[in-house]
Homo-oligomer: 208 residues x 4
Amino acid sequence: MATSRASSVLAARVTPGASVHANSRAPQLLDAAAQLFCRHGYEGTTVRDIARAVGMLPGSLYCHFATKEDLLVAVYLRGVEQICAAVQSAVQPLTEPWARLEAACVAHLESILRDDAYARVVVRVRPADVPAAAGSMTVERNRYEAMWSSLLAELPLPPRTDRKAARLMLLGALNWSQNWYRPDGGATPRKLARQFTALLRQGLENPA
Amino acid sequence: MATSRASSVLAARVTPGASVHANSRAPQLLDAAAQLFCRHGYEGTTVRDIARAVGMLPGSLYCHFATKEDLLVAVYLRGVEQICAAVQSAVQPLTEPWARLEAACVAHLESILRDDAYARVVVRVRPADVPAAAGSMTVERNRYEAMWSSLLAELPLPPRTDRKAARLMLLGALNWSQNWYRPDGGATPRKLARQFTALLRQGLENPA
Amino acid sequence: MATSRASSVLAARVTPGASVHANSRAPQLLDAAAQLFCRHGYEGTTVRDIARAVGMLPGSLYCHFATKEDLLVAVYLRGVEQICAAVQSAVQPLTEPWARLEAACVAHLESILRDDAYARVVVRVRPADVPAAAGSMTVERNRYEAMWSSLLAELPLPPRTDRKAARLMLLGALNWSQNWYRPDGGATPRKLARQFTALLRQGLENPA
Amino acid sequence: MATSRASSVLAARVTPGASVHANSRAPQLLDAAAQLFCRHGYEGTTVRDIARAVGMLPGSLYCHFATKEDLLVAVYLRGVEQICAAVQSAVQPLTEPWARLEAACVAHLESILRDDAYARVVVRVRPADVPAAAGSMTVERNRYEAMWSSLLAELPLPPRTDRKAARLMLLGALNWSQNWYRPDGGATPRKLARQFTALLRQGLENPA
DNA sequence: AATGAATGAGACTTCATTCAT
DNA sequence: AATGAATGAAGTCTCATTCAT
């Protein structure tokens, strides 16, 4: 995860002319930005911080990204890409709907809690806080949520079940864990994901 | 909710000597700060914004609060106070544990989505983003979460049930709703709270 | 000329709240800006330069003017005010139309070449070069040109005389002198103004 | 006008070794610079703008011109060359001194208002604003003004006529028209030039 | 001849805070 | 309790220029 290869879809958003040379440092910048955005938030990170993290002067950053917001969008976009990929490759080998949902939860939680700085940013940074980037961010986020709608649609459930509420509850619980989860103590992301899935499926009153 | 009386516990944090007079404008400042913090976040709100909102100059604000962080702490503290009060008064008339839990969820969600700018701040602003205030904020937040631990402890559940996981799931789902809830369309906070409680209790496979 | 008293019409453009205290340094800033704008142009002057000229830090300047453009507008506005005043008080005691025109030329030229840094800015800085300020500047400049239209309207001239062309020629010649006039060598502004007026009146072939 | 061949006198100022090849893109750069300098001024034009206008990257521009100032000097020099040529070829077929002066005015005004981006720069950009280029620019400008001195010297005028004042007035009026002339409304450059010449010759009181 | 990347200085502006009055 | 002014650090971004390839 958090690899350093700029995907083609990302290249479309960087300053024109960049990433033609093979030795571009745009990927390093992206990585640094992802790390810093997910650790300190968007406003809590300065372009100086990002530039320093890759040994550049602040002005040089603008060879690769036209604005700080563009950097955020690029990180965000790749975050969605990567978390989508993680979830999809976790789900793909499975066919049983509940197993697929559980696998998705595990992949999601491992991404946003442990593996993937880019994916963390997707959960950490609120689109509304960065107006100039909110549009693109929301488009991406919706793309991801659509995946979850599909996963829930697969479940064999009683008619009239409000699947949307279930999705909002599940994803909310998962995402909010970023606010309290500490990697050292307690449960692993995997275990948590399984617990939440089980709760959603059977409820507190009907243990497995 | 969102009353304008500065509680004594707040007075302890303001500029020494201030807020002894009855006609202090500290309460107005607190209200304005709560509104702005919950709407734009802590970093997205400037001292100027707050001062302007009450018709003051920025410098004058420092007659009432020593720093911006102190203002945040005061708001946060009152937010916890108020959401505690809301939950407690919703729960108090009830005795059945599940009904109490549901009532708590409704009170919580109505507070953080609709009624109470102070309570919103508690969910909106991450302690880690404001190091100088993180300590006090965390203490308060823990106080609130303890209430929820009690509510869950009351529930008649099979032995070995992981009540902590349930609490984290439920509160996470509730809190995260701040990120997607829109007051105009769809469900009310009350309805959402009930759905989430029901899901937690019986799961998707065992509809009420 | 170039006095340090901020007129009421200027105060309206200054950051709200300024110039209530008697010891505001806004007038000094205005003076410094006028000097620097007329010497190095708008783009050639930095806010640092202006602040340094009055012994301030660059940020402090923003207590008095919200933007660099606002400073320019304030200077420009006062420049027009002052050159209007200079021309009007030169013209007022006279009744003979040609004498009034000549006096106006003298006042204009002395203002923009010698006396008045504010007035110089009016001739020096092109509105189109500062888009954010162009509107206000043009309004003011038109106000001034209207005065000249009146002066030319008074002249007893053959019917069908194109007074507008005459105005454009005269004012153009006067204003352009900023590009070549050197205070040390040659003619005084007064002498030049008289020569231009005479030429315009009688032409090269009909010397006085 | 505004031809694309770099004259030998220009080559002397470009980066050593450049522009020896026939397919150099220096002429395109020169054209682009002339367009941009005359439209937005020297400071209002960036090296990036110029490079972009010819589909180059900023760094590549330095294969042809050592500095931005050199570009300006090259444009300016060619501007003077071209306006000289325009005036001279307008004047040459004529012998009557006043007719020659009028033709010169028409050629001058058409160049700086309509035809010739290079010539426009000569009027638009003040040497004093670009210290490193001021020397060369002033030399060129003086060369041009000498032409006008000759034209005025030819006129049959009463003794003791101040021909220099007349030249300054006429050229000033012509040049300043760049500040107010709009190609759409009103008079053509040709008509204006004739009006100004007539005014200078006979004055307002002695219409033709 | 041209490129992509980087430099380094400096641009305007914001902001929490201080302080004499 | 409040003001107007100022501070000082830091913010994002621009720009002419350089240089290895």
